[in-house]
């Protein structure tokens, strides 16, 4: 469960990104975060995996207050949270298999478990047959699947996605969304920032709209609500 209380964030350059966020996301929910560029979406997302610290307020994730979490404990938090980005963030010199295995290697998982888990998640994202390919030999959609595979390989409770379909064409995007739904159906919480109106309006989920650092709308089966 994710719970934010009175979260404020002012960057050192004086920009106020969030001003008084209160939200509660239950385990297993699927949440879209929408809003215009520069409204505080990214900051909101970054708070959840402790890339940014709130200036004030508290963020509880599975009973841990991220506002008070020591820097040295952040790696342990990240092992329970998967993160997916618009630009995939894959390592170009590693194969698909190695890219996914990397996430387990750096947390010192045993080689036997690594092999088993990596093949499992590659099977889930439908790329088992491309395990030996390099990222530049794959399409954008496939690369995003690899990055999703990497984000869930250590079985996190929460997956946070920052515009995962931002670089993909519409057809590919639907495939990626199917994958997120599949992951969500297995009980993983999904928090996704997006600009894709069609997706939000078609695959109906909870929608949180952020404008000027505040939550202006929070609907159970919401609409995208912006023109673009």
């Amino acid at each position: 469960m994710i719970e934010m209380q009175d979260v404020y964030k002012t960057y050192p350059n004086g920009v106020m990104a969030l001003s008084g966020i209160n939200v509660r996301i239950k385990q297993g929910e699927f949440v879209y975060v929408v809003g215009p560029s520069g409204a505080g979406k990214s900051t909101f997302i970054k708070m959840m995996y402790r890339e940014e610290k709130p200036t004030s307020g508290s963020i509880m994730i599975n009973g841990v207050n991220l506002a008070k979490l020591k820097d040295s404990k952040v790696p342990l938090l990240r092992r329970h949270i998967g993160v997916v980005f618009q630009d995939f963030k894959l390592l170009p010199k590693l194969t698909v298999y190695e890219n996914v295995a990397f996430a387990l290697e750096v947390i010192e998982e045993s080689p036997k478990n690594i092999k088993k888990r990596v093949m499992e998640v590659l099977d889930l994202v439908g790329l088992k047959h491309k395990a030996r390919f390099y990222p530049d030999e794959l399409s954008g959609g496939e690369q995003q699947r690899v990055s999703i595979a990497r984000s869930i390989v250590n079985s996190p409770k929460i997956v946070i996605a920052d515009e995962p379909t931002g670089n993909l064409d519409p057809d590919t995007s639907w495939g990626i969304m199917d994958l997120f739904e599949e992951i969500n159906n297995r009980g993983t919480t999904i928090v996704m920032a997006t600009h894709n109106r069609e997706i939000v309006n078609t695959i109906k989920k909870r929608v949180i709209a952020i404008e000027n650092g505040k939550i202006v709308r929070d609907e159970a089966r919401g609409e995208y609500g912006y023109d673009s």
């Binding site: 040295s72 790696p75 938090l77 990240r78 993160v83 963030k89 996430a103 750096v106 947390i107 010192e108």
Partner: protein
Amino acid sequence: MTVNTLKRHLRESIKSLGRNGWMTFASISAVTVTLLLVGVFLVVMLNMNNFAKKIENDVEIRVHIDVTATQQDKEALKAQIDAIPEVKEIKYSSKEEELQNLIKSFGEEGSSFKLFEQDNPLSDVYIVKTAKPTDTMKVAKKIETFKFAHKVKYGQGQVEKLFKTLKVARNIGLGLIIGLLFTAMFLISNTIKITIFARRKEIEIMRLVGATNGFIRWPFFLEGLWLGLLGAVIPITLILFSYYNIYDFLKPKLTNPFIQLLPFSPFAWQIAAILVALGACIGVWGSMVSVRRFLKV
């Protein structure tokens, strides 16, 4: 840390040496030049120190006892000298013994002094040694004030001069070495900076998937260590090889008991150990400087 992790760190650090080829070369060269100079300097300094120590230890104060002193007066003088806290040793040498020593020291011509055996003009002497050679002058001055201490002599002048020279040489050398050590460290820290830059995406992903700071730091730490150690190889080889030959060449020619080279073993090996340690230190230090600044861990 598991064996697998350690292997991974080793692999990564070595790979990175090859990837930054030219910077690796520059860093290793800098360490090489630094350690070579440090090594030569150490060899010269320590040998000079050794000469100095030998001369120092030979310094003694000769207290000539007034001829009018009775046995009792001599005892009193001895007690007085003994009471000075810096004095380590006091030996009595009668005027007959002094004459014998004198005759002996002149060798064949010494026999002409035998005439004096009838009427010995020398005085009885106390030979005083101080615990620390540098206290010699102070103690000598004190003894001069004692009754029946007719004359006080010691090898003043030369030792002070030697030490002054040694001190200047040591300071210049130290300044030079510190400057060089910093240069080498700076170059190593730059190499590591490039490594970090080349791998920033990898580091970012490591962070995202929950690698600990220690885990991220290890390969850089090792890379710095390799740079330092590789830089020590040539200086150590050169110094061991040349000291061995110089020692062999000079040993039979140095007949003066004060000027003797320190024996190859263990001296040269100690120098080698110091150079390895220094190489490792500047390597690790240089890499830590970069890692701290650019990794924010």
